[in-house]
Every structure is written in C-alpha cells, then in structure tokens.
C-alpha cells in the first residue's frame, strides 16, 4: 500500500489478480469500473516481471495502481479479458513485448511483431542482432548472418518457458 497525491498503489501476487480486480470492479463502494491501462514492466535480467493495472472510479478521486508480480521462470498470469474485454489488446501487447503468458486469453498471439518472431523485444536482456555489432563480428552485415536468425540459439536461457510454448510443446 503506497500513495502520493493522486495515485494509490497496491502490490499483489500474480495469480490473485482476477480475484482482486473482480472485487474492485463490482463492489459498489469501490466501483473501479474503468480499466485505464494494463502494462508490463521488466525489472532486470535476474528480477521478476510485473503486470501493472490502472483503474479509475468515479467515487474516488485517485488512480488505483494494482501491481501483480510475475516470476521470470514461467511467466504465467490469469487473463482478465473475462472482466474487461478491452484488456485483450493490452495482453496481446504484453505477450508480444515481454513474453508474459495470459492463461484463458482466447487470442494470445503477437500484435506488433511478425507472427514467427522468436524473441521478446522489450525485455531488459533482449539482444538485437545489430547489438552484436560491438561483438567481434562487427561490420559484417549482422542480419544476413544466418546464425543470428534464430535468436534463441544466441542465448538459450533468454526465454526458456515461453519458447517452449511458442514451439507448441506446452
């Protein structure tokens, strides 16, 4: 629980987010009926992820920020498209950018990157082939070097849990 002049913040565990948001939305006293924003934050290559929901209620003059922790090894979070249909695009973007899997989301596929893109760009430890420019092979056009094609081969521990999902063997 933390507050400043216009935001109240609550931190909860990842798998309880549907329950908490359900209460926040339906309880007439709280009445946080509008989901303003759902964002994902990566706290570092060894740290955890966080899915941050911002809610608005006409009864309380503050934004409510609900931070749900997600551990990095298997980034699974229940999807809240049940509560708000509008969260679908938010969750697709979080999956596409950070590689967080939302269980129960009917349409979890990439929204910005191409469907067969193998890695997750907004992670803190994302290695873009071009970044290999400062590696020994600088100068040679990195994108045409075939070994940079499959980014997972570059650093296998990049996204173990997720790539398994992508290759289909759950």
């Amino acid at each position: 629980m933390w507050t400043d002049e216009d935001t109240v913040e609550v931190t909860i565990e990842g798998d309880r987010n549907v329950a908490v948001l359900q209460v926040l939305r339906d309880d007439p006293k709280l009445n946080f009926f509008y989901l303003a924003d759902a964002a994902a934050v990566d706290y570092g290559p060894t740290e955890h992820f966080e899915v941050v929901y911002h809610l608005y209620s006409d009864r309380h003059p503050v934004w409510l920020r609900v931070r749900a922790r997600v551990n990095r090894a298997d980034p699974h979070v229940p999807s809240i498209t049940g509560l708000w249909e509008g969260a679908m695009f938010h969750e697709r973007e979080m999956y596409d950018m950070m590689g967080i899997l939302f269980d129960g989301n009917r349409d979890l596929r990439r929204i910005y990157m191409s469907p067969d893109y193998r890695s997750f760009p907004q992670r803190k430890d994302f290695l873009l082939p071009d970044d290999a420019a400062d590696s020994s092979a600088a100068g040679v056009r990195p994108l045409e070097r075939p070994e940079t094609w499959d980014l997972s081969r570059l650093s296998d521990e990049l996204a173990p849990g997720v790539l398994a999902h992508v290759e289909g063997e759950k």
Partner: protein, 424 residues
C-alpha cells in the same frame, strides 16, 4: 464442417515459384550460394506458432465466404491499417485487425533517451495531436522530478492543447465524409487545420511535430505574432465550422449512411476500454479533464458533453460539439492568462529520484496516459504509453459483423484511429 485452411507462407511460394520457373526454362537448379551466405539454407525459417482460438475462428471459412484484405496501403486516410475481413457476398461476418506495420518501438527507444529527448520521441506517435502526446509525459516527469510548471506555462499548455484538439476534430469530420465519398469537407477541415498549424508554428517553431513542451514548463513564451494569428483565426473559425457542417450534417445521404451505423452501447464501450469522444458519444460522461483534473482545467468552466446515439452520427456530432467547447475554453484561457516565467529552473539532464508516476490526458481520440518509472539515472527505466485509438480499435470486430463492406469504412472513420499511436 469447417475445413482447416493452411495459409501458404509467402516465402515458400517464392521459392517454389522460382524452382518451377528454372525447371521450365531448363536451367540448372538453384546453386547453393557459396561464401558468406553459405548457411542461409541450413537455418531455415521458424514455422508459424499454433493458431489460437480466435485466429481459427476468423481464418476458417464456411462455404460462400472469402477473406478480403483491406490491406496496409488502404485508400482511406488512417495510415497503415490492415483489416482481414471475412465476407459472405456483401455482408461482413468477421473482422480481424492486423497491426504492427508502423511499429517503431518508441517505448524501447525512450528507455535509452534522456527525459528531454523522450519528449521529442513521443511527437510522431499520434501525429494529429502532438501537443497532447507531449503533455502527458511532461506531467509524469514533473511528478517524478518534483518540479511544478509556473502558472503561465500551464495556461500556455492548455491553450495549445485545446487548439490541437480543434484541428484534430475538424480533420476527423473531413475523414469521415471522405471515406464515404464526399470530397469537399476534407478540404474545409484542412483549411481550418492549416490556420491553427501556422499559429502553433508561430509559437513553437514547428508545424506538426512541435517539440514544444519541456519538463517544468514550455520552450517559448507566447509572442504577439501568435496572439495576432489567434485573434484573426478566432474571428472566422465558427463561420468555417458552420460552413463545413452545413455541407454534410443535415445531408440525407450522409445521415442515412451514418445513423444506426456501428452502434456502441455505453456498457460495451466501457468494457472495451473505448474512451474520449467515442465513449461520450455513447452517453457515458467520462472526460479526464473533469474526472481527473490536471493542469488548469479546474479553473475553467465547462460541462462534459454526451450524445445519446452511440452510432457514427453521434460520434460525428460529438466532435462538432467538442470543437465549439474547445473554442469556448480557448476564450477563457486567453482571458485568464497571467504573466510570469514560462520555464521552471530545471537542470540540463534531470535525474529524478527512483519512483513511479502515472499521468492521463484527454487527447482528441480518448484517454492518453503515460506510466513512467525512474531508477535515478538520466534515462527513464520504463516508459509505457497507452494510446486511445489502440484500445478503441477493439470495438471494430464487435461492431462490424452483419454490416456491409461499405460500412466498415464509415464506422472505422467515425472512430478516427491514428495508426501512428496504435502501432507506437
């Protein structure tokens, strides 16, 4: 039974096509490239991930249906938007928006830029309302850094933001008519826009990507050239808006094409996350300037306007009402503008204390909010932008089934998405 239709991967098509042509021409089969491209074949292409439920639902065709691509390079004026429309004859049965054609990874870029440079990166996001794009990060960074902009700076900010809203809405009226075949209102919209853009370039120096806001204030003070242009513009703007209204608002053909088109009830709108004029057109009085006042809006008197209809026509009328409301707001702002400094004392590179800030702003397309996290360094640790048209695009697949193809354009234009913001 729905047959599983495998969409041929374009890359395979080219390769087989070339092999066929070589066989037909009796030439030698394609030689394995030597030298640095040797490994190209061995890596092969990663195959597509398995289809999700929704994907299977959209891409499996019953008989009599076909997939039409309202492709990325589309004659309508919304930028690079691709709609895969499942059509049975003339009637649309399902729509699947495909995004990402204008994705520049602005959020990732901002993580390596200093706080001042971030304000230049966000301009091209929603290129029809650049002032709003800069307003939200400016407020968020001021919260993080703990500086407050002087009074006059806040007034100038509100002034340019409302001017930006006026020209964005007058453009929307033009786009809506253009998508349905009317070619005149778009030019009246651009007449109005060009005057305002000249005025904004008088104050900020740029015509479209203004780069005018700074953390803790504004870049320049409002000079008298800006006020003289504002005066002449204020003189005939209402006449201009009425002129373009007279051409299409009561036009029976226009009304028959928009009334009852894409009707979105208030409850669905909230569930889908639609915000701004599109939400208020469905009767929900939710305006961030009133619901969560920022900058100087508490000191201005204005009511939240809503329209009962919830269809394309209501969204169009809502835009007109908001133009008039913004003009009224501009009058109040100009009357109450105090004198004084325009920029607070802020070091060149600001290093805010570690913390989080959330700032929401009422942009012409809806709730545009920024969630910034700072870790004490010169660059923001995480810079998240919520674009209103990105979220309100989810309403299109809900509204379109059952309508005709010609209406997809009308409903799309009434939501007025700007792809720069959607694809970030």
């Amino acid at each position: 039974m729905t047959s599983e239709v495998k969409i041929p991967d374009p890359l395979d098509l080219d390769r087989d096509e070339e092999a066929r042509l070589r066989r037909v021409a009796g030439m030698a089969p394609e030689r394995a490239p030597a030298g640095e491209y040797a490994g190209f074949e061995s890596v092969g292409l990663p195959e597509r991930p398995p289809q999700t439920e929704r994907e299977r639902e959209v891409y499996s065709l019953e008989e009599g249906e076909m997939l039409v691509n309202m492709g990325p390079q589309h004659p309508s004026t919304h930028g690079v938007m691709r709609l895969v429309v499942k059509v049975r004859g003339e009637v649309v049965t399902d729509v699947d928006p495909v995004l990402g054609y204008l994705h520049r990874g602005i959020e990732k870029l901002c993580e390596e830029a200093t706080y001042t440079t971030v304000l230049t990166y966000v301009d091209p996001m929603d290129y029809l309302s650049s002032m709003h794009n800069e307003h939200a990060p400016a407020i968020a960074f001021e919260k993080l850094f703990g500086v407050t902009a002087p009074k006059r700076a806040e007034y100038i900010r509100a002034l340019v933001v409302e001017l930006n809203r006026v020209f964005s809405h007058s453009l929307m009226m033009g786009f809506l008519a253009l998508d349905m075949g009317g070619i005149t209102p778009i030019l009246y919209g651009f007449i109005n826009r060009d005057e305002i853009v000249d005025m904004l370039s008088a104050i900020s120096g740029q015509r479209m990507l203004f780069n005018f806001f700074r953390v803790g204030g504004v870049n320049f003070d409002a000079n008298d050239e800006f006020f003289s242009r504002l005066g002449t513009w204020r003189g005939h703007v209402l006449k201009n808006v009425e002129m373009s209204e007279r051409v299409i608002t009561d036009n029976e053909v226009f009304r028959s094409r928009t009334i009852g088109m894409g009707t979105l009830s208030g409850r669905d709108a909230i569930a889908l996350g639609v915000s701004g004029p599109n939400l208020r057109a469905s009767g929900v009085p939710f305006d961030i300037r009133k619901a969560h006042p920022y900058s100087i809006y508490p000191e201005l008197e204005f009511e939240v306007i809503t329209q009962p209809g919830g269809d394309s026509n209501a969204r169009y009328l809502q835009r007109i009402a908001e133009i008039k409301q913004s003009i009224n707001l501009i009058d109040q702002i100009v009357d109450k503008m105090p004198h004084g400094a325009v920029q607070a004392q802020v070091p060149g590179i600001i290093r805010p204390k570690p913390g989080r800030a959330y700032a929401a702003v009422e942009s012409p397309r809806g709730l545009y909010s920024v969630y910034a996290i700072s870790d004490g360094g010169p660059n923001p640790y995480r810079f998240r932008m919520r674009d209103p048209s990105f979220v309100s695009l989810q309403a299109i697949p809900k509204l379109m089934p059952g309508r005709l193809i010609a209406d997809t354009m009308a409903v799309m234009a009434s939501f007025d998405p700007v792809m720069g913001g959607v694809d970030k």
